[in-house]
């Protein structure tokens, strides 16, 4: 419940935070434009302004409008985003939304599978002392291991048994989602108080009834933060999985092709798009939490 009240306070404070956030964002934009001038100046002078007499106004205008800048100005990224979203049909690989959909699909498939697997395993762990002692320490320890490093192995294994396309990416997103969900759910399923479990016992409730009526509802406040972490980790996994597969489609592929051809603006718009996707996915989880836990909020 502490978590719910904290989030509630956060939401209430957001109203009074509009001005500070706007100021900070304006500062970031200012620094960004300044950096764009500083970083692009040399290239602009060498490539665009070599043969002409130029004033500092020309220099600033040129650094903000280069084709392959070191750091594109924010409006260039925004324009490129807009052009790549509206300029091509949705099915065209030139449309950024097409790539976003490819990445989002594998993220979501992996996320759903990983969450289901985590749920099942945590239920098993809570009901079996053997699994609790034999398996849980390994799952907890794996959180300090860079599990993303085995992504290339997964790709090779699945590729050699003929699985390509969404499946390998979804598998990688799945195992990245699986760990946080399992650990949080074991905690959540154990969160009911002794007095509550004993009451169910006096009602002669079966373990399944105890699970359904007490443990699962009690675990929900633990589940949703893990889902937010899991979906963000799954997105990183899906994007990384797109790198070695020949980079045909997806935001990760878009980043890689952009870096091959030095298309900095394309990299930045892919980056912005992946940030938007990450925010949308976590916001969806927060919205789901809001709906599911609505009845519990005490106002």
């Amino acid at each position: 419940m502490a978590m719910t009240s904290k989030r509630h306070g956060h939401a209430a404070a957001l109203g009074s935070q509009g001005a500070p956030i706007a100021v900070v964002l304006a500062l970031i934009a200012l620094v960004w434009y300044g950096l764009a001038i500083a970083l692009n100046a040399q290239g602009a002078i060498e490539r665009n302004l070599a043969d002409v007499m130029w004033t500092w106004q020309d220099l600033v205008a040129t650094t903000w409008a280069m084709e392959r800048p070191v750091l594109p100005a924010p409006h260039q990224v925004a324009l490129d985003l807009w052009a790549s979203i509206t300029g091509w049909p949705l099915s065209s690989p030139r449309n950024l939304l097409f790539h976003t959909a490819v990445t989002a699909e594998s993220t979501l498939v992996g996320f759903i599978l990983g969450t289901l697997l985590g749920l099942l395993l945590s239920i098993a762990i809570v009901h079996s002392r053997t699994l609790d002692r034999a398996l849980l320490p390994w799952i907890v320890a794996s959180q300090s291991v860079p599990v993303l490093a085995i992504a290339p192995i997964v790709l090779v294994i699945l590729g050699s048994i003929g699985l390509t396309g969404v499946a390998p990416k979804a598998v990688i997103a799945m195992y990245l989602c699986f760990f946080p969900v399992t650990v949080a759910m074991v905690q959540g399923l154990r969160s009911p108080q002794v007095i509550e479990t004993e009451m169910l016992h006096t009602y002669a409730a079966s373990p399944w009834q105890a699970l359904w009526m007490l443990r699962l509802p009690a675990s929900l406040p633990f589940l949703f933060p893990a889902l937010r972490v899991g979906v963000a980790a799954g997105l990183v996994g899906a994007m990384v999985a797109e790198l070695p597969t020949g980079a045909q489609a997806g935001l990760g592929a878009r980043l890689l092709t952009g870096s091959y051809y030095g298309q900095t603006i394309q990299i930045w718009s892919a980056l912005v798009m992946s940030a938007v996707l990450g925010l949308v996915l976590t916001a969806a989880m927060a919205g789901l939490e809001h709906v599911v836990l609505r009845s519990r909020r005490q106002t």
């Binding site: 100021v23 009901h127 053997t130 390994w138 300090s144 990183v236 790198l243 990450g278």
Partner: protein, 341 residues
């Protein structure tokens, strides 16, 4: 269910419903003897002609394997069920036993069934590859961990800490920065790797830059949260002592922020490893764990890929263990540390 509802206090809970699916607490000595016997059998079996790579896999092999599997699972169940004194020891023994049997059957079955190396190399081959490529992997370790991860992690965490201290007295900036910093956890920050490679070149500084970016925000958010963690009563006490801002910061608020900062340091250790390895997937010099993993995977040299993954995994857990130990030493007085064994 009955784990929390202490069975000693309420024996009816345990016996009546059969909720606990595990066997009743067995004898420790008998279990140790049983586990030792199964180890002996397992060793004899592994080095017997039956389990040689060339030997045909027959009914006898499968019978013995099945017997061992039953023995192993009974051993794990019995070890897990031991309660009372030495419970902590037996708890970690259970995990170790489980890990051992997983490795054992992995080795046994992969060799017997002649699983292609590309699919799944046996643990012995991975260890052999680790040994053969010790100098290569050592160079990768230095390149990725010592240079990119360590420097990036220290810089990122240091910057996060300094910025948190700097804006501690500016609530306006805090209110503006904190929501944005919290949102970054949802963003795949590692995607800046191609940009970092363009700006800082293929060598380790570009990886360190990615690591700095990834570790900065968690440290900033945690330190700010930690600085707010001291109790009102304690702050008022400092006030009544006429303690200056710096004095309060040093004697009260920073110490109470230590557990928060260590939480961020630990999370960042694994984030930094991931960041550096993934950044190397985007382009790197010809050394580095991420480079090794991605190029050897393309060459289908999977034993070396697994060996590099083992190095990364050991690094991650070691870093975590070292930080936990440091935390216990630094924050020995904090309830969250005193509660642990």
């Amino acid at each position: 269910m009955s784990r929390r509802a202490d069975p000693k206090a309420n024996p009816a809970l345990r016996s009546a419903k059969g909720i606990q699916m595990d066997p009743v607490a067995p004898d420790g000595k008998a279990t140790v003897a049983m586990v030792a016997a199964s180890f002996a059998l397992a060793l004899v079996f592994m080095f017997s002609p039956l389990a040689r790579p060339a030997a045909p896999v027959g009914a006898l092999f499968w019978t013995l394997t099945a017997t061992l599997a039953v023995l192993a699972s009974v051993g794990i169940r019995r070890t897990a069920a031991i309660r009372g004194t030495g419970g902590g020891f037996y708890a970690s023994m259970t995990a170790a036993l489980f890990g051992f049997w997983i490795l054992y059957f992995w080795q046994l079955l992969v060799v017997a069934a002649e699983v292609p190396r590309v699919l799944l190399p046996s643990p012995a081959l991975i260890v052999a590859s680790l040994w053969d490529n010790l100098s290569t992997l050592g160079g990768d370790f230095v390149q990725t961990v010592i240079k990119a991860v360590l420097i990036g992690w220290a810089l990122g965490c240091g910057l996060g800490f300094l910025v948190a201290i700097a804006i501690d007295r500016m609530p306006f900036l805090q209110r503006g920065l904190l929501p944005i910093a919290s949102l970054t956890s949802a963003i795949p920050l590692v995607g800046v790797a191609p940009i970092a490679v363009m700006w800082f070149g293929f060598e380790w500084p570009s990886k360190a830059a990615v690591v700095v970016l990834m570790t900065f925000f968690p440290m900033l958010v945690s330190t700010l949260a930690g600085l707010q963690a001291s109790q009102r009563l304690e702050r008022e006490l400092m006030h009544s002592y006429a303690a200056s801002y710096l004095r309060t910061l040093w004697s009260l608020r920073l110490p109470s922020a230590v557990p928060f900062m260590f939480a961020a340091l630990k999370v960042n250790a694994s984030l930094a490893l991931i960041g550096a390895i993934v950044a190397e997937f985007f382009g790197s010099p010809t050394t580095g764990l991420g480079f090794r993993i991605s190029t050897e995977a393309l060459k289908m040299n999977m034993t070396l890929v697994w060996a590099a993954v083992v190095v990364a995994a050991v690094t991650g857990t070691t870093a975590y263990a070292l930080l936990s130990r440091l935390e216990r030493r630094v924050a020995f007085w904090h309830p969250s540390v005193r509660g642990r064994k």
